[in-house]
Amino acid sequence: MRFKAIAAVGILSLASMVPAFGQATTKIGVITSLTGSLAAFGEAHKNGYAIALDEINAKGGVLGKKIELDFYDDQSKPDQAVQGVSKLVDQDQVPVLLGSYSSESTKAIVPAVSQRETPLIIPTATADNVMDSKSPWIFRVCAGANDYAKATIAFLKANGAPKKMAIVYENTNFGQSNMKAMTAAAKEVGIELVAVESYEAKSPDYKAVLQRVKQANPDVIYFCSYLLDATTLMRQSREVDLNPKYYTSAGTGFAAAEFPTEKGAGKNAEYTFSVSQWLPEAKWAGSKEFDAEFFKRFKTHPAYHAIQAYAALRVAAEAINNAKSLEPSKIRDAIKNINMSSTPFGPIKFDNGQNQHPVLITQVQQGQYRVVFPADAAETKPIIPAPVWSKR
């Protein structure tokens, strides 16, 4: 028997790090995509977490101990994320988990987390099926695809009520989720979908797709694009002379800090609408400071993924302090009852696990994102319709 035990330990000793007992810090588990196709967003997470970490630790950490982040790289793959839950919870015994980045990975870890009765705070996964399980252990800081679609539809209804819409979406989980959400939302208010087109990201040419859209002659286009595809899409929209009255979008690529600047789509970005979860110019106290701190450290402006990660860690720390315990179930109850009235990401309060985060509609005007909807947050009026390309 001893021989077997030795063999078992021998094989596993390489794979396992010794769990620390009575450590001087409190570990919080983070799963994100440090490598693989989504590594850029994993990096945004990491940077956002780093700022929150320093801020919390400077104020004394949680329960008198400093926080330490325990990262697990899911390599942008859902199955690896599930393995991460096991590593962080079963082995490192973290009391609360943050992550993952993508909707796929996050959806995949929901059952594993619920099974282990450990609270999970989701910073960025927008697909709505992430929240389908109704598990009491799952909390989402960001707004979801349904919220994007609803906000966009509400904006359209308040501003000219167009009749015909085209959806152009990236053929991934993000794109398909947002396409489905918008399809449902548009049907509800009687907007006709004249074209629903998908595309493969990383392709250098979308002109054929845009030609099909042009043929359908929509009033509105709703782009669900993840990355810098947004730049190519807008450039090629100009090239095929595609002229809807509204260019709307589900954020991300269309809400990236570089998108309206010369480093991104430049002038082609003008007049595009986008949903947004957060902007450095947002009215919430601390937004500008977060932006400044981020720029100082990382030499680039943050997109909302970074601040959502920041907010998730703030929630975790606050909950631990409120719970006065590292017991996962007590932390869960504390997250449920959390009421943070002022963070740089706005007020945070969960309703059935979902943070009621307002979705803003922005428009690029003179190379700047300006909030145009809802009325109480608007900085300026939307410019409608977008001028045709030949008149720009």
């Binding site: 077997k4 035990a5 063999a7 078992a8 330990v9 094989i11 596993l12 390489l14 794979a15 396992s16 790090m17 440090l34 490598t35 590594a39 990262f71 697990y72 790289d73 390599q75 793959k77 859902p78 199955d79 599930v82 393995q83 096991s86 590593k87 079963d90 082995q91 796929e104 959806k107 995949a108 929901v110 059952p111 594993a112 099974q115 697909a127 099926n129 053929n171 991934t172 989980n173 794109g175 398909q176 989720s177 489905k180 998908s198």
Partner: protein, 327 residues
Amino acid sequence: MSLLKSWKFWVSLIVVLVWARMPWFIRNNYQLQVLFRITLFAALGLAWNLVGGYAGQLSLGHVAFFGVGAYGLALFADLGIPVWIAVFLAALVSTAFAAVIGIISFRLRGPYFTLATIAFAEVLRLAATNLNVTGGAIGLTMPGLFVGRTFWRSFYLAAVALAVISFITNYWASRSRFGYYLMAIREDEDTAAAVGINTARCKLYALLMSAFLTALAGALYGSAFQFIVPDSILTIDISIQIAIITMLGGAGTLLGPIVGAVLLLTASEAFKNVFQESHLLIYGVLIVVVVLFLPEGIVGGLQHRFRKRIKPPKDAKPQPVLGGAAQ
């Protein structure tokens, strides 16, 4: 009776028993999960070995069988078929699919065959991404083959069982007439055909067996991780992983896939915990080093060296020449 006298049989039996008892010795579910992955990939490596090792047909499309296993289980179970029956139906569908792939791609040799298998797997991935029935890129929730507190332990034991079945299949292939036919095909397909071996049929049978086992592994894997998307269950990365494990462990050897799975997956998990962003780089270096210095894989290389020392000239393998059987 001769089996009971063989020391190898008893050693194997002890190894299997120890392996199966592993959950009783290890500390937590994470280690169990890593062990599950190692065991499952050992099974996959052994299944791949039938085609890639013994028959020398280097498939990089095995993820297609793996994916059909997982998707098949989800879809059949969705129709109300009991899960374990669904698993076998999925494996049968995968085998039928393998027949189609095999009939088309086995007409091709060497790199052409390899590329054809990649193409089939990619077509499946794209189809799964675009079809509604497979849930598109949004994915499907998998039915649980096991539930409850002993979740991982049960999955682990199922993986061990699958690895044992795969091992026995390999053992049989390494000893039987069928296995010798396969090896003859690997060494020189034209000569094999000339001496009367029905090469097409042999290769196809090997592929069918391999696909069946691979699909079972896919169903297990998908169910263990509870949720599948095309990018996790039909990605070429899995084909590559299976091939790397077997080739680096030693293709065409009985122990190679097992050694490869244990070493590579343990290393990759350890690297991930230690090196963070640079773990893939270290993994890449490991692959390059093994290819450079252990051309026949770890087990193949050791066997070769060992045998050489005992009886040098007779048993020494001839070095493959440029433009040899591989082309």
